[in-house]
C-alpha cells in the first residue's frame, strides 16, 4: 500500500504551480506545448502516454489557480471518447472539446469542437450556433448551442458512464485546489491581521473553524485522490468513489471559501479580493451535474437498495 506520488509526479505539480500562478489565462497552445493536453494520449499519437493520476495533479492545480481554459471539458470529459487521430489533435493543441450532456455547456467561449451523445453513439456536433451566457464564474462560462447536425461518430455511448466518472472526479480534484487555496489565504490573513493587540489567529473563534476547514479539505482530498487512482488503474470502485468525492469535495470547497471570507472580514467581501472568484468556482463545481444531496441519494441507493455495495 502506497499513497505517495512519484518524484516525477511531484515535479509535474511544482511545474504546474509555477506556470499557472504566472499564467492564469493560458492559451490552449501553451498548455499543449507543456505536454498537458496530451498527458494521457498514447505516445504514438503525440501524447505522453501517462494516466489519470498525472491529469489529477493538473486538475487540482488548475482549480487552485482558477485557470481559465477548457482543460476539464476536454481532457476529463471528452478525451477518452475521441478516436486516436482526434486525440492527437488535442495533444498538439489543435482542438479542444465540450460534451453536450444537458441544455448548458461549459467552456463554450473557448472550445473549438462539440461532442454530443445520441442513440448508441457519441457524435461530433457540427455547424451548431453557440451563445455564451453571462455566468457567475467568469473563468468557466456556460452557454447553449442550437441547430447543427451529427457529424463523425466518435465513440459508443456505452462510454458515457466512464466519462461521467472522470468528470466528477476531476471536479472533485479542482474543488480540492480551490478549497486549499481559500484556506491558505485565511491562514495568512489570520497571522498578519491584528485586533485587540494580537494576531486574530490567536483566537480560537478564528483558529478552530480553520482547523475544521483543514480537516474537511484534507479528508476530501484523500477521497478525490482515491477516485483518481481507481480511474487510473480501472478499479471497479471508481464510479462510486467519484460520486462520493464530488459530493464531499464541492461542499468542502464552498465551506472553505465561506469561512475564509468570514475570517477576512470586510476585505474578503470586496470585488478586488480573489476570494469571491474562488468562491464562485466552488459554487460552480457544487452546482454542476448533481448537487451533494443528489449524489448522496445515489450513494444511499448503492448502500441500501438492491444487492447493496458493502
Amino acid at each position: 500500500m502506497d499513497f505517495a506520488f512519484t518524484p516525477e509526479q511531484e515535479e509535474l505539480r511544482a511545474q504546474a504551480r509555477d506556470f499557472l500562478t504566472m499564467h492564469p489565462e493560458p492559451s490552449w497552445q501553451e498548455l499543449a506545448d507543456l505536454g498537458w493536453t496530451g498527458v494521457s494520449v498514447a505516445e504514438e499519437h503525440g501524447g505522453a502516454g501517462l494516466g489519470f493520476l498525472e491529469e489529477a495533479i493538473l486538475f487540482e492545480e488548475m482549480g487552485r489557480a482558477l485557470t481559465h481554459a477548457p482543460y476539464w471539458s476536454t481532457v476529463a470529459v471528452v478525451l477518452p471518447a475521441l478516436p486516436p487521430d482526434l486525440q492527437g489533435e488535442v495533444a498538439r493543441g489543435e482542438a479542444s472539446w465540450a460534451l453536450a450532456t444537458g441544455p448548458l455547456l461549459a467552456d463554450l467561449d473557448s472550445v473549438t469542437r462539440i461532442a454530443v451523445p445520441g442513440g448508441d453513439s457519441i457524435w461530433e456536433l457540427e455547424g451548431a450556433a453557440r451563445e455564451v451566457l453571462q455566468t457567475n464564474d467568469v473563468t468557466r462560462p456556460l452557454g447553449v448551442v442550437s441547430g447543427g447536425e451529427y457529424g463523425r461518430v466518435l465513440a459508443s455511448s456505452e462510454l458515457m458512464p466512464q466519462l461521467r466518472t472522470r468528470s466528477l472526479a476531476a471536479l472533485a480534484l479542482e474543488a480540492c485546489g480551490v478549497g486549499a487555496r481559500a484556506l491558505e489565504l485565511a491562514i495568512d490573513y489570520a497571522k498578519e491581521r491584528h485586533q485587540f493587540g494580537k494576531p486574530i489567529g490567536t483566537y480560537q473563534a478564528i483558529s478552530h473553524p480553520l482547523a475544521q476547514t483543514l480537516m474537511e479539505v484534507e479528508l476530501g482530498r484523500s477521497l478525490a485522490l482515491f477516485a483518481a487512482w481507481c480511474i487510473a488503474v480501472g478499479d471497479e470502485r471508481g464510479p462510486i468513489a467519484a460520486v462520493s468525492a464530488k459530493a464531499l469535495c464541492a461542499d468542502a470547497a464552498v465551506a472553505a471559501c465561506e469561512r475564509s471570507i468570514q475570517v477576512h472580514g470586510g476585505i474578503g467581501f470586496t470585488w478586488e479580493h480573489v476570494l469571491h472568484r474562488l468562491y464562485k468556482r466552488a459554487l460552480w463545481i457544487q452546482a454542476w451535474e448533481a448537487s451533494g444531496a443528489q449524489l448522496r441519494s445515489e450513494v444511499a441507493a448503492y448502500l441500501l437498495d438492491g444487492e447493496g455495495g458493502e
Binding site: M1, A4, T202, Q204, L214, S222, L225, S297, V299, A300
Partner: protein, 386 residues
C-alpha cells in the same frame, strides 16, 4: 501510488484472515469492550494467542521480540482484527504508548526488562498522566517525586486511568522539582503498581461500567533506574507517548468505524429509513471512505519518516465525531426500542451501549478542543492561543 496490497502484504492479510477465522473464540466475537475486557480471562488468553501467532508488536524491532515489519502490516492487522470483531490485545496502553516510549527513550536495560512481557500480555500497563487539576493542561501535573537515597518517593493522585486496576506497571508523569513551573521539572517514571502505597479506585462511567480508575500514590518508592529519559526531562518523553497514542491508532479507529457503519447500513435495511435518514447514512459512508484514505495517506507518510505526523489528530477527531453521529442515527432508526436494555434491547444492546460510550470518544486521548489547537498551531502554523 498504489493502494493495493503488495504481494507480501496480500499474503500476510489472507493468512491473518484465515487465522482469525479459525482462532477467534465464538464468545469473544462482537465483544464490545467495556468492563468485561479486563475481567474476562478469555481476553487475556486471546491476547496471548495473538502474541504466540506473531501478530503483536509487528513493527517493533526484532531484538525486542517484535516482527520488524513495515507499518503497513500493523495497519492490515488492526483492520482485519476490527473486521473480524475480535477483541484487541489486553495491553493497549503498553503496545500503543508505554512500549513505543520505552523503545524511543529507554535504556537497553529497560528494553530487555519490559518489552517482551508487555507483548505477551503477561504484564499489563496503565498510564498516569491526567490529574484532577491537570486534564487538557497536562503541564499542570503536581504528583510529586522526591529523590531520597537513590530512589524517588511518589505522592499524589492520577485519574482517568484505564487498566490501572489490572495493571502491573504505570507510566507516570511526576513533578520532581517542586520549585518548577509547567513543562520544566517533570520526570517520567516506570512505577510498579504492586508497590506499597499504590491504591486504585475504579470509576463508574456513563455506560454503568468501570473502565477507568483513580490512582493514589502515598510515599511509593521507585528506584532511580526507573526514570525514562532525563530527570527533569519528562515533558519531552510524555510528548513522545502522546504522539504514538494518536499516531498508530488511526487504522484501528477507521476499522472500528467501518464495522459500525456497516451495521448501520444493515439496520437501515432491516428497519427502513426516511429520505433524510438515507441522506445522513450516505454522508457517513462517504466520510468513512475519506477517513479511510486519509489514514492510508498518513500511513505512507509514517512509513517514510518513521514518526507519526499530526494527521493522527485529524483521524482521531473525525472518528470520534463520526461515532457520535452514527450511533445517534442508529438510535433514531430504532425509535422507542432504543430505550430498552437487557434481554429486550435490539441487536443485543449494541447501539445503546455504543451511543453512550461514544460521548467519551471526543474527550479521551485528547479532547476535540485540544486536537483543534494542535492542528491550528502545528499544521496551520497559527500563533498559540495560550
Amino acid at each position: 501510488m498504489d493502494l493495493r496490497d503488495t504481494p507480501d502484504e496480500a499474503q500476510f492479510r489472507s493468512e491473518l484472515c484465515a487465522w482469525l477465522e479459525a482462532n477467534v473464540p465464538d464468545e469473544l466475537r462482537g465483544h464490545r469492550g467495556g468492563e468485561s475486557r479486563y475481567t474476562d480471562d478469555a481476553v487475556r488468553t486471546w491476547s496471548r494467542s495473538l502474541y504466540e501467532a506473531g501478530y503483536i508488536g509487528l513493527t517493533w524491532p526484532k531484538e525486542y521480540g517484535g516482527g520488524g515489519k513495515p507499518y503497513s502490516y500493523q495497519a492490515i492487522f488492526l483492520e482485519e482484527l476490527a473486521r473480524a470483531e475480535a477483541p484487541q490485545h489486553l495491553g493497549v496502553i503498553g503496545l500503543g504508548m508505554a512500549g513505543p516510549t520505552i523503545i524511543a527513550c529507554g535504556t537497553e536495560a529497560h528494553k530487555a526488562r519490559y518489552l517482551q512481557p508487555l507483548l505477551s500480555a503477561h504484564e499489563i500497563w496503565c498510564q498516569g498522566f491526567s490529574e484532577p487539576d491537570a486534564g487538557s493542561d497536562l503541564s499542570a501535573v503536581r504528583t510529586s517525586a522526591r529523590l531520597e537515597d537513590g530512589h524517588f518517593v511518589i505522592d499524589g493522585q492520577k485519574v482517568w486511568s484505564s487498566y490501572a486496576h489490572i495493571a502491573d506497571w504505570c507510566i507516570l508523569l511526576t513533578r520532581s522539582d517542586p520549585e518548577s513551573q509547567r513543562h520544566a521539572g517533570l520526570t517520567y517514571l516506570i512505577v510498579d503498581m504492586k508497590a506499597p502505597g499504590v491504591e486504585v479506585r475504579p470509576l463508574r462511567q456513563i455506560t454503568g461500567e468501570a473502565e477507568f480508575n483513580e490512582i493514589f500514590f502515598s510515599g511509593v518508592e521507585v528506584p532511580v533506574e526507573n526514570v525514562l529519559g532525563e530527570i527533569g526531562g519528562g515533558w519531552q518523553v510524555a510528548m513522545t507517548t502522546l504522539l504514538h497514542e494518536r499516531g498508530t491508532l488511526g487504522f484501528a479507529l477507521v476499522a472500528a468505524l467501518e464495522v459500525m457503519i456497516s451495521k448501520l447500513v444493515g439496520l437501515a435495511r432491516d428497519r427502513g429509513a426516511s429520505p433524510v435518514q438515507r441522506d445522513a447514512i450516505a454522508r457517513e459512508w462517504i466520510e468513512l471512505q475519506a477517513v479511510r484514505y486519509t489514514a492510508l495517506r498518513s500511513l505512507s507518510a509514517l512509513m517514510k519518516t518513521g514518526i507519526p505526523g499530526p494527521e493522527g489528530s485529524i483521524l482521531k477527531q473525525q472518528w470520534s465525531e463520526a461515532a457520535q453521529r452514527v450511533t445517534k442515527l442508529a438510535l433514531e432508526l430504532l425509535g422507542p426500542d432504543a430505550q430498552l436494555l437487557g434481554e429486550n434491547a435490539p441487536y443485543g444492546g449494541y447501539w445503546q451501549h455504543m451511543q453512550l460510550r461514544s460521548r467519551g470518544n471526543t474527550i479521551e486521548a485528547g479532547t476535540t478542543e485540544v486536537l483543534r489547537n494542535i492542528i491550528a498551531e502545528r499544521v496551520l502554523g497559527l500563533p498559540r492561543s495560550r
